[in-house]
């Protein structure tokens, strides 16, 4: 189960409202490669992982992704909270009429979150391969966001989150390697079949 700690994993202190950035960054809240998708994916896949290492890593990375979800939500909240009507009308009107200054799981184009963004296939090779791809997609999304961003208060947590994706990719690679070691020698293509 989860316990809530009254702190963010990494501090976020944004001084200047910026609805334009909020519209982009929300994509890591409710978009295809965002933190909500990542948490649900890993926390769903963990049930059918075959051993201690894989259960542990899926559980723990999934938990960290929830902390990242909170960070992204906090960034968007702080970017919008003190924004003036003029700024909102210029860059944020569509989202504003639907959600006001509220934080809602959607991507940068306003498409709401869906579980179709993730898969949990009950097979460790399938699931871990998807997880490697997911971390790369998330990393790239942060890189694109960093390129679009000119506020150092926002760049700082974005860079942290990008680095975490790289570390997660490393850990999932190690987990996949461990699973592959346990496969039958006959199974040269590393499909999800148990050792005989």
């Amino acid at each position: 189960m989860w316990i809530y700690e009254k702190k963010l994993e990494y501090p976020i202190r944004i001084k200047n409202p910026n609805p334009r950035l909020a519209k982009l960054i929300i994509t890591q809240y409710g978009g295809a490669d965002g933190e909500l998708g990542a948490s649900l994916r890993y926390l769903s896949q963990r049930f059918t992982m075959p051993d201690a290492v894989t259960k542990g890593i899926l559980n723990d990375i999934g938990t960290e992704e929830l902390a990242h979800l909170e960070m992204i939500g906090s960034i968007c909240y702080q970017l919008l909270n003190c924004a003036e009507t003029r700024e909102l009308a210029e860059e944020y009107a569509d989202a504003y009429v639907e959600h006001g200054k509220g934080v809602y799981p959607q991507n940068a184009a306003g498409v709401p979150f869906t579980a179709a963004y993730l898969q949990s296939k009950g097979d460790p090779i399938v699931d871990l391969t998807e997880d490697l791809a997911a971390e790369q997609k998330a990393r790239k999304t942060y890189e694109y966001l960093i390129k679009m961003c000119d506020d150092p208060d926002v760049l700082d947590p974005l860079r942290f989150l990008r680095e975490r994706e790289i570390v997660h990719y490393q850990r999932f690679g190690e987990a996949l390697g461990k699973v592959q070691e346990c496969l039958s020698d006959k199974n040269k293509f590393f499909m999800g079949m148990k050792k005989e």
Partner: protein, 87 residues
């Protein structure tokens, strides 16, 4: 709901977040390297530092989890919450 900044409090919370993050990162590493004794020792060190700083924070500024240092009212609900803006 803007809070005026208490720099000592913010600095202490920053230190706690740093040691807690070290714990988290080591925990992920240990999940795939469960017998790495050096990592376990580093984890224990981070846990010790985090615990000490948390005790200091909680006795001065309020709980980080439910119910620690609860005075005569449920101060858990008091601001600031982690997402709140500091000016």
């Amino acid at each position: 709901m803007n809070q005026t900044i208490n720099y000592e409090k913010e600095e202490l919370l920053y230190q706690i977040a740093a040691w807690d993050f070290r714990k988290t990162d080591l925990a992920l590493f240990l999940d795939t390297h469960p017998h790495d004794m050096q990592a376990i020792m580093l984890f224990e060190e981070a846990k010790y530092k985090s615990t000490m700083l948390r005790n200091m924070y909680e006795s001065n500024y309020g709980p980080l989890v439910h119910g620690t240092n609860c005075p005569n009212y449920w101060n858990w609900i008091e601001s600031p919450w982690p997402w709140e803006v500091h000016r």
